[in-house]
């Protein structure tokens, strides 16, 4: 009698376990790789991006997931180091078997890592890194199909906007370029020089600085002696702050116009009042001027208990990258990499994101969701980024949409 009962119990437990296991199989979560620097100098961008991504995933799961399955992010910190990025890519592909990967803040890491996704035919959406070559690395004719997409404004768009703002809109005649010595800074400097050349201009001074440089006197004095009336920058937060502080020290106040990194909290906080007035292209400003944006900002503030988003651009682009991926998986009806890529390239659904409304954002030939008309200029004022020109974000201009191909 007794052993019988035990057997019965065992059998019941087993069958319960089995049926549970079976059900779990049917609803196995869809794994999405999520990688960026969550530590180190560019972590404010990485962490904001991650938080934006997780916010979107939580909302999608609450609404029932995709294909009846929940999304789950597999997070990995690439420390902004190329070799770590490569290891992570291999782990996510071979061990975690992710369906797609979102992320990359640093151009160098993206370029080193995404070839593994290309080979494994798994789509990657770069949601922050801006290096122009990123989306071109595997573009035709180099490869038949390209698995690399982007929801950030690339450096050609940004450098063009910077020059347009400084030269055309504000009428400066003698720009100086200050760029850091990394891939990001030097590729950006080349793009700036090209954009200036297109206007028949040349920088009066082109100066370089290293990450962690604390004294910008020499660079600033050279620019000043060359008669510069505006400084165009390509660098990241801490050193940009040293430029603003150095200007204040030398008592030489000319405007800073630079890439979107002038919106980093490490620039705004370390430069303090010296950073006021710096302008930079932004795909998203923490400004609730559409219902979708209001909901996003409020959800972000509530989820992460902050008033000022550390990097609103990264958070918004991260959030949107999830929406696009989810729509593509839904359209493909499958998590197969090739099918998801094909769906991204021919997205039927209009995706209502926070940066813009994505109406066929990608085609086989164009993997850039952000076009030149989408970013607007932000300006640092009292420790926050606000729109530099009210007319750019007012009325119809609030939602800027990529023209249909």
């Amino acid at each position: 009698m007794r052993p019988n009962r035990r057997n019965l119990l065992l059998a019941a437990a087993l069958s319960a376990g089995l049926s549970f296991g079976f059900r779990a199989e049917a609803q196995a979560p869809i794994k999405i790789g999520l990688t960026g620097p969550f530590t180190g100098g560019s972590s404010s961008m990485g962490v904001s991006m991650r938080d934006g991504v997780k916010l979107a995933i939580a909302e999608i799961n609450k609404a029932g997931g995709v294909l009846g399955r929940p999304l789950v992010a597999v997070e990995r910190d690439d420390e902004a180091r190329n070799e770590v990025g490569v290891q992570i890519a291999q782990e996510l592909i071979n061990k975690e078997r992710v369906v797609a990967t979102l992320g990359f803040i640093n151009t160098g890491v993206a370029l080193a890592s995404q070839r593994f996704y290309q080979e494994a035919e798994i789509p990657v959406i770069n949601n922050v890194a801006t290096g122009t070559v990123i989306a071109q690395q595997f573009a035709a004719p180099k490869e038949k199909t390209n698995y690399v997409f982007r929801t950030a404004a690339n450096d050609i768009i940004q450098s063009g906007m910077i020059v347009e703002e400084a030269v055309t809109r504000r009428g400066f005649k003698k720009p100086a370029i200050l760029a850091d010595s990394t891939n990001y800074g030097q590729l950006g400097r080349e793009d700036l020089e090209r954009a200036l050349a297109a206007k028949g201009m040349k920088a009066v001074a082109t100066e370089k600085f290293n990450i962690k440089d604390t004294d910008m006197t020499a660079q600033l004095l050279r620019a000043k002696e060359a008669g510069a009336d505006v400084i165009l920058t390509y660098g990241i937060g801490p050193e940009l702050a040293q430029i603003a502080n150095g200007q204040a020290k030398l008592g030489w106040k000319v405007p800073l116009v630079g890439s979107w990194t002038l919106s980093m909290s490490s620039f705004i906080d370390t430069a303090g009042p010296n950073g006021d007035g710096a302008v930079m292209p932004q795909t998203f400003i923490q400004l609730p001027n559409t219902p979708k944006r209001r909901a996003f900002i409020e959800a972000y503030q509530a989820a992460y208990k902050v008033e000022r988003m550390p990097s609103p651009v990264s958070a918004a682009q991260g959030y949107d990258s999830v929406l696009l991926l989810a729509a593509a998986i839904k359209q493909a009806g499958s998590t197969d990499g090739a099918k998801v890529r094909a769906a991204l390239e021919d997205l039927k659904e209009r995706v209502d994101g926070v940066v813009t409304v994505y109406d066929r954002p990608f085609t086989a030939a164009d993997h850039e969701a952000i076009s030149g008309n989408i970013p607007v200029f932000g300006v640092v004022r009292d420790g926050r980024v606000v729109p530099a020109h009210e007319e750019d974000v007012a009325g119809e201009n609030a939602m800027r949409v990529k023209p249909r191909a």
Binding site: G41, F209, T214, D215, T217, L250, G251
Partner: protein
């Protein structure tokens, strides 16, 4: 002329930062022929502890607390990293140990204070002062004055006090000092404590001008090491002059040659010194008897 003066003044300020960190290397090298390669991290910890403490008790009360913290931190490094190596007569154990401790301190700081650079408010204003067309931050003057005062105080202590004399005696000949009844082990611990105290105070001094964060020490520590080699590891005056030379050449090359080559002359100088006067510009030749 005005530009040259501006470059020199800024160069002196930066050079003094290098010099005061290098002074810490010199302190421990004198007594034990070992270095704390975590000197940059000692500086970083001083700055971050100072930032936190200052928010509770104000800037001036914070200073002695940071000094005490530095002393303690240096003693810990010596006990954990250096003493076992000296005891076992290991030639390189202390190199690995101090580097490892430096990394641990950095990671610790990253976990406590985060990875982003923080702002260290200047206690004496952030508006620059203009003297005959040359602009200088009040904090830069404070760095130069503070660094000189601190080095002077350490030198005076070594020359006048009994304990200081024990330090000098140990520096001159450890075995002989030991035979004379000086507890040389304690002296070495003390020299490490002193060197980290110097670094911690340097951290508080430079933080309002540089960036404050877990990684602030790495680049500065390395530059200061170059300075210590250039100036001579056993000369207090040498490291100050070495620091000034490096700071000024960096700025002059940056302006007159190209900002892309800012760091090159310093490294060339380092190589030159190593090949022609390995003991440093101001270093005394030491003969190692085996």
């Amino acid at each position: 002329m005005q530009i040259l003066a501006q470059l020199l003044v800024s160069g002196v300020a930066v050079g003094m930062i290098y010099g005061v960190i290098a002074f810490g290397y010199q302190l421990t090298f004198a007594t034990s022929k070992t270095l704390n390669f975590g000197q940059g991290e000692a500086l970083m910890l001083g700055a971050l502890v100072g930032l936190t403490v200052a928010s509770f008790v104000g800037y001036w009360v914070m200073l002695p607390i940071v000094l005490a913290f530095g002393l303690l931190q240096g003693a810990v490094v010596e006990r954990l990293g250096v003493r076992p190596a000296i005891k076992s007569k290991s030639e390189s154990g202390w190199i690995m140990a101090t580097i490892a401790l430096g990394i641990i301190f950095k990671n610790l700081a990253e976990n406590i204070w985060g990875r982003d650079d923080l702002k260290f408010p200047s206690p004496i204003g952030e508006r620059s002062i203009e003297v005959m067309g040359v602009r200088v931050l009040p904090m830069e003057i404070a760095i130069v004055a503070g660094a000189l005062a601190m080095m002077l105080a350490v030198e005076l202590f070594n020359r006048r006090s009994v304990f200081g004399k024990a330090v000098v005696a140990t520096a001159n000949d450890r075995d002989a000092a030991g035979l004379m009844g000086i507890n040389t082990g304690q002296v070495i611990t003390f020299s490490f404590a002193l060197s980290s105290m110097v670094a911690a105070l340097a951290g508080v001094l430079v933080a309002p001008v540089t960036l404050t964060g877990a990684t602030m020490g790495s680049a500065l520590g390395l530059k200061a090491f170059a300075v210590a080699i250039i100036g001579g590891l056993n000369s207090g005056l040498g490291v100050v002059v070495g620091g000034l030379i490096l700071g000024i050449t960096e700025n002059l090359t940056g302006y007159y040659l190209s900002t892309g080559y800012k760091d090159v002359p310093g490294l060339v100088l380092l190589l030159l010194v190593l090949s022609f006067k390995p003991s440093g510009l101001f270093g005394k030749k030491t003969i190692k008897k085996v």
